[in-house]
């Protein structure tokens, strides 16, 4: 029996992710939302009844659970909703007591939107960015996005760089990409791997390049600005030691919060809210990163894009060791040798597959 030390991830924070609309003004080729949804069938906004139930749930959760909590509007792209988005923020603020932040591709941001947003209850905006070396032809060009960040970001309404997806063949350019962003906006986006239906396994050379580039980035930028590298693999490295959890509130109310009475029984929705996270059963208890490896995002544990679930999990293990070893080398001990424990996928998949709910919420 291999047991984890829960104290190492005791400091969690939770972000409710409300899909306010299924409409989007971009058509990124890698978008997993529209890979799984026919555009015409999700081209609508979240219903008012479901939204109201979501806000009530967050309000109750905030009051009853002793943990950091935030909520965000996402989609599709929330900005296609026009002024209705500001109305949603106002409604939520009046009930919850603090405002949402917004995830967007940035295409809908202009002078008029900024003027209205500054008067709204939206706290800040996270804008996703394309890889400047190889931007998706159907996405907003990254040069446009960084110009908007530079022009419009302010203390009243910060426009913050969100995620930038890096395909495996650009691991070798990650440092150069970081330099590009730093020169343009003085900080770095959150770099994440290409995943879902566009996922491809990295080869040994790409992993070596990833390690080298991460070390260069930490050395150069970590003393200056926050560095957040591949938090879907190593979330423990990106938020000052805190562990983020995203709680999905989708367009069709998969949690069924609008259809039954959950007041006084918030945990009844936890299995659905936490369905993003699956328990990881690893038998390599001597691995340095064992305690940070108790769960993964669900897509590391399923067959997808022609990659078997066993291979996906092996890739996760390889990437995690590469990333954590690189951080450790720069921040703690430059003589650290690469970790060589490979996950036993037979051991993992022979166990019952469970949703992972943080220890903190189980009263333990």
């Amino acid at each position: 029996m291999y047991t984890y030390d829960d104290s190492i991830i005791s400091d969690c924070f939770y972000t409710f992710s409300i899909a306010t609309t299924g409409k989007c003004n971009c058509a990124c080729t890698y978008c997993h939302f529209f890979a799984g949804n026919e555009r015409s069938k999700v081209a609508h906004d979240l219903s008012k009844d479901i939204y109201k139930a979501y806000i009530e749930y967050i309000c109750n959760w905030k009051d009853e659970i002793n943990a950091s909590v935030a909520y965000r509007f996402t989609g599709g792209d929330p900005l296609v909703m026009g002024d209705a988005l500001f109305d949603l923020a106002e409604e939520a603020y009046s009930r919850i007591g603090f405002g949402p932040f917004v995830l967007t591709n940035g295409k809908g941001i202009d002078d008029q939107w900024i003027i209205k947003a500054k008067k709204s209850k939206i706290t800040h905006v996270n804008i996703s960015l394309e890889n400047p070396i190889s931007p998706d032809p159907c996405a907003e060009p990254p040069i446009n996005t960084v110009e908007k960040i530079s022009k419009f970001s302010s203390i009243e309404l910060p426009l913050l760089p969100g995620v930038c997806i890096i395909e495996r063949e650009y691991f070798s350019k990650l440092y150069d990409i970081s330099e590009w962003f730093y020169a343009k906006i003085g900080c770095l986006p959150t770099f994440v791997e290409m995943n879902f239906q566009a996922y491809e396994s990295p080869n040994a050379d790409q992993l070596e390049q990833l390690s080298k580039n991460i070390e260069q980035i930490i050395q150069r930028f970590a003393p200056k600005v926050p560095v957040n590298l591949f938090p879907n693999i190593s979330s423990e490295l990106g938020y000052g030691g805190k562990i983020p959890f995203i709680l999905i509130m989708d367009l069709k109310d998969s949690c069924k919060l609008a259809s039954y009475d959950w007041v006084g029984n918030l945990e009844v929705a936890h299995p659905t809210l936490f369905s993003y996270y699956r328990r990881l059963m690893c038998d390599k208890a001597n691995c340095p990163w064992f305690n940070n490896c108790r769960y993964t995002a669900w897509y590391w544990q399923v067959d997808m894009a022609g990659v078997s679930k066993e291979q996906k999990l092996r890739d996760y293990c390889l990437l995690k060791r590469t990333i954590n070893d690189s951080f450790y080398r720069v921040l703690v001990d430059n003589n650290h040798k690469s970790t060589a424990y490979n996950i036993d996928t037979n051991y993992h998949f022979s166990r019952q597959q469970e949703i992972y709910i943080p220890h903190q919420l189980k009263g333990g």
Binding site: S154, D250, A297
Partner: protein, 57 residues
């Protein structure tokens, strides 16, 4: 201390280093870049793209 303990200790050391790094932003960047400080303290935004369809697998 066993080899296992030594290896496990690495995760704790790395976490401490990450926290120390984070504290430095709050101290050192206050004067030169208030916006970035805001980023650090308020942007509790795990960078995942909202997902509807993929939750249905």
């Amino acid at each position: 201390m066993t080899n296992k303990d030594i290896d496990r200790e690495k995760a704790v050391k790395l976490k401490k280093a990450i926290i120390e790094q984070f504290k430095r932003y709050e101290v050192e960047l206050t004067k030169e870049n208030l916006l970035l400080l805001f980023t650090v303290s308020k942007s509790a935004s795990p960078p995942l793209i909202s997902d509807v369809a993929m939750l249905q697998d």
